[in-house]
């Protein structure tokens, strides 16, 4: 009796496994020949980077932040939920943007200036290294570190790994805190991590990033590091720059003119 009941259970288990596996093994139907292509106007680059010249920033100006957050449907949380805020680009004091390199006597043109901080789209990003599903990944073609919101499980390991605090999590449904939405870009849902995407959707249709376009003083410059004639390479040839926490080996691609 014992033996035959065990055998029955073994057989039932194997059958269930087989039935469950059948649809997985069946091949999915594919449409006939498809090809994918870029917009003719798309900006092409293999190593996107940004240079920030805060000496050109005006006090109390939030144009770059407003443009980015409105263009990407980044919610604005009420003050009592400040700890759950979402920000893709924002201002910091010099001491907070560069805590490892305190400059005792800041030059006048940098004193009190707001330093824009955002995702650095590192060459060697720790966030990509730790993601268990490759929901955050570095695109080979252009070097942008992107989020796949469809795949993110919301484990927030990437947030722990980022040495720059660039990442935000949707602690609530963001649509509750969006006064108006830009229909050209999706919102996100609660439970996924998000961050600056170097405006990959803008680059794809031939536009510079929203923050760069919004700045009236051209404090933000965007371009391809692999193109020796790009705007960023021009500045880097002429001005000294620093990057955030370079000793960590992350290879950040946002440069700050000093």
């Amino acid at each position: 009796m014992e033996g035959s009941r065990r055998d029955f259970l073994k057989l039932a288990g194997l059958s269930a496994l087989g039935l469950g596996a059948a649809p997985v093994l069946a091949s999915a139907s594919k449409a006939a020949a498809q090809t994918f292509g870029d917009d003719a106007k798309a900006l092409k680059g293999t190593h996107w980077a940004m240079v920030v010249d805060v000496s050109k920033c005006q006090d109390d100006c939030q144009d770059c932040i407003a443009a980015c957050h409105e263009g990407h449907n980044v919610p604005t949380l009420p003050p009592e939920k400040k700890r759950n805020e979402i920000k893709w680009i924002w201002h910091e004091e010099f001491e907070n943007a560069f805590p490892e390199q305190p400059i005792a006597y800041l030059p006048e043109k940098l004193k009190g200036k707001p330093f824009e901080v955002l995702c650095n789209h590192c060459d060697n990003p720790p966030c990509v290294r730790v993601c268990p599903t490759k929901a955050t990944f570095k695109r080979e073609e252009d070097g942008i570190v992107l989020m796949d919101f469809h795949r993110c499980i919301g484990c927030r390991f990437c947030m722990a790994a980022c040495p720059y605090g660039s990442r935000s999590f949707n602690w609530f449904d963001p649509r509750l805190y969006l006064a108006k939405t830009n229909s050209a870009f999706p919102t996100r849902a609660k439970g996924v991590v998000e961050k600056c995407n170097f405006c990959s959707e803008q680059l794809a249709i031939g536009n510079l990033p929203l923050c760069v376009r919004a700045c009236k003083n051209e404090a933000l410059v965007f371009g391809d590091l692999n193109d020796p004639n790009s705007a960023v390479r021009k500045i880097l040839r002429e001005r000294a720059t620093i990057r955030r926490k370079p000793e960590l080996g992350t290879g950040p691609n946002v440069f700050y003119v000093i």
Binding site: A32, R139, H150, T181, S183, P186
Partner: protein, 129 residues
């Protein structure tokens, strides 16, 4: 096979209650017919990105392919088997011809009790800026 003594009444009652609950969907809805799904088709356009039959069975596979291409690789345009070029976007392309989600998408989805979460993120109204 040796029979183990068991409480016939309790087992029988339990089995009966189980069958009643298990077959609930069948006898609870007896006599009622659910109207077949009738999505409102666009009048201005006759063809979709792919053939109607393909879209009926595999629109989700197509959307998944679009999603992988746009999000992970970068290309934004799709050329179908007929050589027609479309922008790979749920809100901009699909909703261009099928602007009202409630009249189109929801009709079949509600009938089939399918609730995709696309709309948690992808906007259903165009031009709200």
């Amino acid at each position: 096979m040796r029979m183990v003594p068991y409480d016939k009444e309790k087992i029988g009652a339990g089995l009966l209650i189980f069958f009643v609950i298990f077959t609930l969907p069948f006898w609870y809805n007896r006599g009622r017919a659910v109207a077949p799904a009738n999505p409102v088709l666009p009048t201005d356009y006759k063809t979709c990105v792919e053939s109607t039959d393909y879209m009926k069975t595999s629109h989700m596979q197509l959307l998944n392919t679009w999603r992988t291409e746009v999000v992970r690789y970068g290309p934004r345009y799709y050329t179908n088997s007929q050589g027609q070029r479309y922008k790979m976007s749920l809100t901009d392309t699909c909703l261009d011809c099928h602007p009202k989600k409630a009249d189109f998408c929801d009709r079949c989805h509600n009938y089939a009790a399918v609730f995709p979460y696309c709309w948690d993120c992808h906007l259903t109204e165009k031009g709200t800026r």
